[in-house]
Protein backbone atom coordinates (compact mmCIF):
# COMPACT_ATOMS: atom_id res chain seq x y z
CA UNK A 1 0.00 0.00 0.00
CA UNK A 2 1.34 3.37 -0.95
CA UNK A 3 0.82 6.09 1.59
CA UNK A 4 -0.51 9.44 0.47
CA UNK A 5 1.41 11.95 2.51
CA UNK A 6 3.92 11.93 5.34
CA UNK A 7 5.20 15.02 7.10
CA UNK A 8 8.45 14.62 9.01
CA UNK A 9 9.35 17.40 11.41
CA UNK A 10 12.99 17.47 12.49
CA UNK A 11 16.47 17.34 11.04
CA UNK A 12 18.50 14.84 13.02
CA UNK A 13 19.71 11.44 11.83
CA UNK A 14 16.36 9.80 12.60
CA UNK A 15 14.58 12.32 10.37
CA UNK A 16 17.17 11.80 7.65
CA UNK A 17 16.96 8.03 7.51
CA UNK A 18 13.20 8.04 7.88
CA UNK A 19 12.94 10.41 4.92
CA UNK A 20 15.34 8.23 2.98
CA UNK A 21 13.31 5.14 3.75
CA UNK A 22 9.93 6.60 2.84
CA UNK A 23 10.78 8.93 -0.03
CA UNK A 24 9.81 6.37 -2.68
CA UNK A 25 7.12 4.68 -0.63
CA UNK A 26 4.79 7.60 -0.28
CA UNK A 27 3.07 9.80 -2.81
CA UNK A 28 4.13 12.93 -0.99
CA UNK A 29 6.85 13.38 1.61
CA UNK A 30 7.59 16.69 3.22
CA UNK A 31 10.36 17.47 5.70
CA UNK A 32 10.11 20.49 7.98
CA UNK A 33 13.39 21.57 9.54
CA UNK A 34 14.18 24.39 11.94
CA UNK A 35 17.05 25.83 9.89
CA UNK A 36 17.35 26.73 6.20
CA UNK A 37 20.74 24.98 6.12
CA UNK A 38 19.31 21.58 7.03
CA UNK A 39 16.35 22.09 4.66
CA UNK A 40 18.87 22.54 1.84
CA UNK A 41 20.71 19.39 2.92
CA UNK A 42 17.55 17.30 2.78
CA UNK A 43 16.70 18.69 -0.63
CA UNK A 44 20.21 18.10 -2.00
CA UNK A 45 21.09 14.77 -0.44
CA UNK A 46 17.71 13.04 -0.65
CA UNK A 47 15.91 15.02 -3.31
CA UNK A 48 13.04 15.40 -0.87
CA UNK A 49 11.03 18.62 -0.54
CA UNK A 50 12.10 20.33 2.68
CA UNK A 51 11.25 23.69 4.16
CA UNK A 52 12.52 25.56 7.19
CA UNK A 53 9.67 26.64 9.47
CA UNK A 54 8.39 26.33 13.03
CA UNK A 55 5.89 23.50 12.66
CA UNK A 56 4.46 24.24 16.12
CA UNK A 57 2.83 27.41 14.73
CA UNK A 58 -0.78 27.09 13.55
CA UNK A 59 -0.10 29.25 10.48
CA UNK A 60 2.77 27.00 9.42
CA UNK A 61 0.63 23.88 9.94
CA UNK A 62 -1.89 25.36 7.54
CA UNK A 63 0.78 26.16 4.95
CA UNK A 64 1.97 22.56 5.19
CA UNK A 65 -1.63 21.46 4.54
CA UNK A 66 -1.29 19.23 7.53
CA UNK A 67 -4.95 18.20 7.22
CA UNK A 68 -4.00 16.20 4.11
CA UNK A 69 -1.29 14.16 5.86
CA UNK A 70 -1.80 10.52 6.75
CA UNK A 71 1.11 10.56 9.16
CA UNK A 72 2.93 13.32 10.99
CA UNK A 73 6.20 12.34 12.66
CA UNK A 74 7.61 14.85 15.18
CA UNK A 75 11.34 14.37 15.77
CA UNK A 76 12.44 17.70 17.17
CA UNK A 77 14.81 17.94 20.12
CA UNK A 78 12.27 18.96 22.76
CA UNK A 79 9.48 16.69 23.98
CA UNK A 80 7.07 19.62 24.38
CA UNK A 81 7.53 20.74 20.77
CA UNK A 82 6.81 17.23 19.52
CA UNK A 83 3.82 17.04 21.84
CA UNK A 84 2.34 20.28 20.51
CA UNK A 85 2.93 19.30 16.88
CA UNK A 86 1.27 15.92 17.30
CA UNK A 87 -1.68 17.03 19.40
CA UNK A 88 -2.39 19.96 17.09
CA UNK A 89 -2.11 17.62 14.09
CA UNK A 90 -4.72 15.31 15.63
CA UNK A 91 -7.10 17.82 17.14
CA UNK A 92 -6.92 20.72 14.68
CA UNK A 93 -6.16 18.89 11.43
CA UNK A 94 -7.60 15.41 11.92
CA UNK A 95 -4.33 13.63 11.10
CA UNK A 96 -4.98 9.90 11.69
CA UNK A 97 -1.47 9.05 12.94
CA UNK A 98 0.83 11.39 14.80
CA UNK A 99 4.08 9.91 16.09
CA UNK A 100 6.21 11.77 18.65
CA UNK A 101 9.79 11.11 19.64
CA UNK A 102 10.51 11.79 23.32
CA UNK A 103 13.66 12.07 25.38
CA UNK A 104 12.05 11.31 28.73
CA UNK A 105 10.70 7.73 28.68
CA UNK A 106 8.14 8.69 31.34
CA UNK A 107 6.52 10.97 28.80
CA UNK A 108 5.28 7.92 26.93
CA UNK A 109 2.68 7.15 29.60
CA UNK A 110 2.06 10.82 30.32
CA UNK A 111 1.41 11.67 26.68
CA UNK A 112 -0.88 8.64 26.34
CA UNK A 113 -3.01 10.12 29.12
CA UNK A 114 -2.96 13.45 27.28
CA UNK A 115 -4.27 11.77 24.14
CA UNK A 116 -1.10 10.87 22.27
CA UNK A 117 -0.57 7.13 21.91
CA UNK A 118 2.19 6.85 19.29
CA UNK A 119 5.20 7.89 21.32
CA UNK A 120 8.71 6.56 20.80
CA UNK A 121 11.45 6.83 23.41
CA UNK A 122 14.97 6.10 22.22
CA UNK A 123 16.22 5.70 25.79
CA UNK A 124 13.54 3.12 26.46
CA UNK A 125 14.31 1.11 23.34
CA UNK A 126 18.07 1.11 23.92
CA UNK A 127 17.55 0.46 27.63
CA UNK A 128 15.35 -2.51 26.81
CA UNK A 129 17.97 -3.97 24.51
CA UNK A 130 20.69 -3.53 27.14
CA UNK A 131 18.61 -5.17 29.84
CA UNK A 132 17.66 -8.05 27.60
CA UNK A 133 21.31 -8.44 26.60
CA UNK A 134 22.49 -8.69 30.19
CA UNK A 135 19.70 -11.09 31.09
CA UNK A 136 20.60 -13.36 28.20
CA UNK A 137 24.34 -12.88 28.50
CA UNK A 138 25.70 -16.02 26.97
CA UNK A 139 23.07 -16.45 24.29
CA UNK A 140 24.94 -16.54 20.98
CA UNK A 141 21.99 -17.06 18.67
CA UNK A 142 18.42 -18.24 18.59
CA UNK A 143 16.01 -19.54 16.03
CA UNK A 144 12.23 -19.66 16.33
CA UNK A 145 10.51 -22.73 14.95
CA UNK A 146 6.87 -23.69 14.55
CA UNK A 147 5.51 -20.13 14.82
CA UNK A 148 7.85 -19.41 17.72
CA UNK A 149 6.39 -22.22 19.81
CA UNK A 150 9.81 -23.87 19.82
CA UNK A 151 13.16 -22.14 20.32
CA UNK A 152 16.59 -23.37 19.36
CA UNK A 153 19.33 -21.49 21.19
CA UNK A 154 23.10 -21.55 21.05
CA UNK A 155 24.47 -20.74 24.51
CA UNK A 156 27.97 -20.12 25.80
CA UNK A 157 28.48 -21.29 29.35
CA UNK A 158 30.52 -18.65 31.16
CA UNK A 159 32.68 -19.36 34.21
CA UNK A 160 29.97 -18.00 36.53
CA UNK A 161 27.03 -19.64 34.77
CA UNK A 162 24.78 -21.49 37.14
CA UNK A 163 24.97 -24.85 35.34
CA UNK A 164 28.77 -25.19 35.65
CA UNK A 165 29.78 -28.29 37.60
CA UNK A 166 26.37 -29.93 37.46
CA UNK A 167 25.52 -33.11 35.57
CA UNK A 168 22.75 -32.79 33.02
CA UNK A 169 20.46 -35.03 35.05
CA UNK A 170 21.09 -33.01 38.22
CA UNK A 171 20.46 -29.64 36.51
CA UNK A 172 16.71 -29.88 36.76
CA UNK A 173 15.96 -28.75 33.22
CA UNK A 174 12.25 -28.05 32.93
CA UNK A 175 9.79 -30.26 31.08
CA UNK A 176 9.81 -29.41 27.40
CA UNK A 177 13.50 -28.54 27.19
CA UNK A 178 16.45 -30.52 25.91
CA UNK A 179 20.19 -30.05 25.61
CA UNK A 180 20.78 -31.34 22.08
CA UNK A 181 24.53 -30.92 21.72
CA UNK A 182 27.51 -29.80 23.78
CA UNK A 183 30.48 -28.38 21.87
CA UNK A 184 33.58 -28.59 24.05
CA UNK A 185 36.68 -27.32 22.31
CA UNK A 186 37.06 -29.49 19.23
CA UNK A 187 34.64 -32.14 20.48
CA UNK A 188 30.99 -32.36 19.65
CA UNK A 189 29.32 -34.33 22.44
CA UNK A 190 25.97 -36.04 22.29
CA UNK A 191 24.63 -35.41 25.78
CA UNK A 192 23.98 -38.07 28.37
CA UNK A 193 22.59 -37.51 31.86
CA UNK A 194 25.93 -38.19 33.52
CA UNK A 195 27.83 -35.49 31.60
CA UNK A 196 28.99 -32.51 33.64
CA UNK A 197 28.71 -29.02 32.23
CA UNK A 198 31.98 -27.12 32.07
CA UNK A 199 32.83 -23.45 31.70
CA UNK A 200 33.47 -22.66 28.04
CA UNK A 201 30.96 -25.23 26.75
CA UNK A 202 28.73 -24.23 23.90
CA UNK A 203 25.30 -25.75 24.27
CA UNK A 204 22.53 -26.19 21.76
CA UNK A 205 19.29 -25.93 23.71
CA UNK A 206 15.93 -26.86 22.24
CA UNK A 207 12.84 -25.94 24.21
CA UNK A 208 9.21 -25.05 24.06
CA UNK A 209 8.46 -21.35 24.38
CA UNK A 210 6.91 -21.75 27.82
CA UNK A 211 9.99 -23.59 29.16
CA UNK A 212 12.48 -21.03 27.86
CA UNK A 213 12.85 -18.81 30.91
CA UNK A 214 13.19 -21.70 33.34
CA UNK A 215 15.68 -23.54 31.11
CA UNK A 216 17.88 -20.45 30.72
CA UNK A 217 17.71 -19.85 34.47
CA UNK A 218 18.91 -23.37 35.15
CA UNK A 219 21.78 -23.21 32.66
CA UNK A 220 22.92 -19.58 32.85
CA UNK A 221 21.37 -18.25 36.03
CA UNK A 222 21.05 -14.60 36.89
CA UNK A 223 17.62 -14.18 35.35
CA UNK A 224 15.30 -12.31 37.61
Amino acid sequence: MKLQKIIIVGEGPVAYYLAKRFRHRTRELLVVTTTAQSAREFAERLDVPAIAADATLPGVMEELEMFSADIVVALRDEDHDNFVICRAAQVMHGVPRAVALVNDPEHRDVFARLGLTSVVSAAEIVGGVIEQKSVFEGMLSRIDLADARVEVMQLRIGADARGVGHTLSALGLPEGSLVATIVRGEDVLIPRGTMTIEAGDEILLVCRKEAETAALEVLLGGLS
Binding site: P58, E78, F83, V84, A88, M92, E106, H107, V110, L114
Partner: protein
Protein backbone atom coordinates in the same frame (compact mmCIF):
# COMPACT_ATOMS: atom_id res chain seq x y z
CA UNK B 1 1.52 25.23 55.30
CA UNK B 2 -1.73 23.82 56.66
CA UNK B 3 -1.50 26.26 59.58
CA UNK B 4 -0.91 29.22 57.32
CA UNK B 5 -3.93 28.24 55.30
CA UNK B 6 -6.21 27.92 58.32
CA UNK B 7 -4.97 31.28 59.66
CA UNK B 8 -6.14 32.96 56.52
CA UNK B 9 -9.46 31.71 55.22
CA UNK B 10 -8.73 32.88 51.68
CA UNK B 11 -5.20 31.58 51.46
CA UNK B 12 -4.73 29.24 48.52
CA UNK B 13 -2.00 26.81 47.53
CA UNK B 14 -0.54 28.04 44.25
CA UNK B 15 2.22 26.57 42.09
CA UNK B 16 4.19 28.85 39.79
CA UNK B 17 6.36 27.02 37.26
CA UNK B 18 9.11 29.16 35.78
CA UNK B 19 10.28 32.22 37.68
CA UNK B 20 11.71 34.45 35.00
CA UNK B 21 10.58 38.07 34.89
CA UNK B 22 6.90 37.13 34.78
CA UNK B 23 6.92 34.21 37.24
CA UNK B 24 9.11 36.04 39.75
CA UNK B 25 6.69 38.95 40.09
CA UNK B 26 3.71 36.63 40.10
CA UNK B 27 5.15 34.41 42.86
CA UNK B 28 6.19 37.45 44.93
CA UNK B 29 2.83 39.19 44.71
CA UNK B 30 0.78 36.04 45.37
CA UNK B 31 2.96 35.38 48.39
CA UNK B 32 2.48 38.96 49.63
CA UNK B 33 -1.26 38.50 49.21
CA UNK B 34 -1.07 35.73 51.79
CA UNK B 35 -1.15 32.65 49.57
CA UNK B 36 1.05 29.59 49.97
CA UNK B 37 3.21 29.61 46.87
CA UNK B 38 5.48 26.88 45.53
CA UNK B 39 7.92 28.20 42.91
CA UNK B 40 9.56 25.76 40.49
CA UNK B 41 12.50 26.45 38.20
CA UNK B 42 15.38 24.36 36.89
CA UNK B 43 17.71 27.34 37.40
CA UNK B 44 18.68 27.78 41.06
CA UNK B 45 19.89 31.30 40.46
CA UNK B 46 16.46 32.36 39.32
CA UNK B 47 14.94 30.89 42.48
CA UNK B 48 17.46 32.85 44.55
CA UNK B 49 16.41 36.04 42.78
CA UNK B 50 12.81 35.73 43.98
CA UNK B 51 11.80 38.99 45.70
CA UNK B 52 12.35 39.42 49.45
CA UNK B 53 8.60 39.35 50.14
CA UNK B 54 8.36 35.82 48.73
CA UNK B 55 7.83 33.50 51.69
CA UNK B 56 6.84 30.30 49.91
CA UNK B 57 8.69 27.13 48.96
CA UNK B 58 11.09 26.70 46.08
CA UNK B 59 11.82 23.56 44.09
CA UNK B 60 14.88 23.41 41.84
CA UNK B 61 14.15 20.95 39.07
CA UNK B 62 13.01 20.41 35.51
CA UNK B 63 9.21 20.58 35.59
CA UNK B 64 9.01 18.34 32.52
CA UNK B 65 9.87 15.46 34.83
CA UNK B 66 6.89 13.85 36.52
CA UNK B 67 8.76 13.58 39.83
CA UNK B 68 9.35 17.34 39.92
CA UNK B 69 5.69 18.16 39.31
CA UNK B 70 4.74 15.66 41.98
CA UNK B 71 7.15 17.27 44.48
CA UNK B 72 5.59 20.63 43.61
CA UNK B 73 2.18 19.20 44.61
CA UNK B 74 0.43 20.35 41.44
CA UNK B 75 -2.29 17.73 42.02
CA UNK B 76 -3.33 19.33 45.33
CA UNK B 77 -2.83 22.94 44.30
CA UNK B 78 -5.75 25.35 44.09
CA UNK B 79 -4.12 26.93 41.06
CA UNK B 80 -1.15 26.23 38.79
CA UNK B 81 0.52 28.80 36.52
CA UNK B 82 2.96 27.61 33.90
CA UNK B 83 5.05 30.69 33.21
CA UNK B 84 8.28 29.67 31.51
CA UNK B 85 9.47 31.62 28.49
CA UNK B 86 8.55 28.74 26.14
CA UNK B 87 4.89 28.72 25.06
CA UNK B 88 4.90 25.10 23.92
CA UNK B 89 6.47 24.00 27.18
CA UNK B 90 3.83 25.93 29.13
CA UNK B 91 1.05 24.20 27.18
CA UNK B 92 2.52 20.75 27.78
CA UNK B 93 3.13 21.42 31.49
CA UNK B 94 -0.40 22.76 31.90
CA UNK B 95 -1.84 19.59 30.35
CA UNK B 96 0.42 17.39 32.48
CA UNK B 97 -0.74 19.24 35.59
CA UNK B 98 -4.38 18.98 34.59
CA UNK B 99 -4.67 15.54 32.96
CA UNK B 100 -1.90 13.58 34.69
CA UNK B 101 -2.08 15.10 38.16
CA UNK B 102 -5.70 16.26 38.17
CA UNK B 103 -4.98 19.90 38.95
CA UNK B 104 -8.23 21.87 39.03
CA UNK B 105 -7.26 25.33 37.88
CA UNK B 106 -4.40 25.59 35.40
CA UNK B 107 -3.30 28.54 33.32
CA UNK B 108 -0.48 28.69 30.78
CA UNK B 109 1.47 31.73 29.70
CA UNK B 110 1.28 32.00 25.93
CA UNK B 111 3.22 35.05 24.80
CA UNK B 112 2.77 34.57 21.06
CA UNK B 113 -0.86 35.19 20.16
CA UNK B 114 -0.35 33.13 16.98
CA UNK B 115 -0.25 30.06 19.22
CA UNK B 116 -3.55 30.77 20.95
CA UNK B 117 -5.61 28.59 18.55
CA UNK B 118 -3.64 25.52 19.70
CA UNK B 119 -4.32 26.32 23.34
CA UNK B 120 -8.02 26.69 22.52
CA UNK B 121 -8.08 23.42 20.59
CA UNK B 122 -6.47 21.62 23.53
CA UNK B 123 -8.75 23.34 26.04
CA UNK B 124 -5.98 25.08 27.96
CA UNK B 125 -6.73 28.37 29.71
CA UNK B 126 -4.05 30.88 28.88
CA UNK B 127 -2.83 34.33 29.77
CA UNK B 128 -0.90 36.45 27.33
CA UNK B 129 1.24 39.13 29.04
CA UNK B 130 1.77 40.98 25.76
CA UNK B 131 -1.91 40.94 24.93
CA UNK B 132 -2.83 42.15 28.42
CA UNK B 133 -0.31 45.00 28.22
CA UNK B 134 -1.65 46.07 24.83
CA UNK B 135 -5.22 45.97 26.16
CA UNK B 136 -4.25 48.22 29.07
CA UNK B 137 -2.77 50.74 26.64
CA UNK B 138 -5.80 50.60 24.37
CA UNK B 139 -8.16 51.11 27.31
CA UNK B 140 -6.09 54.11 28.39
CA UNK B 141 -6.38 55.63 24.92
CA UNK B 142 -10.09 54.87 24.74
CA UNK B 143 -10.62 56.73 28.03
CA UNK B 144 -8.59 59.69 26.75
CA UNK B 145 -10.51 59.75 23.48
CA UNK B 146 -13.91 59.76 25.16
CA UNK B 147 -12.92 62.33 27.78
Amino acid sequence: MTMARSDRPHSLLIVVIGVGRLGRGLAGRLSTAGHSVIAVDHDRERLERLPAEFSGFTIAGDAREVSVLRAARVGEADAVFTATRDDNLNLMLALMARDWFGARDVRARVGDSAREPIARALGVEIFNPNGLAAEACIEHIARRASA
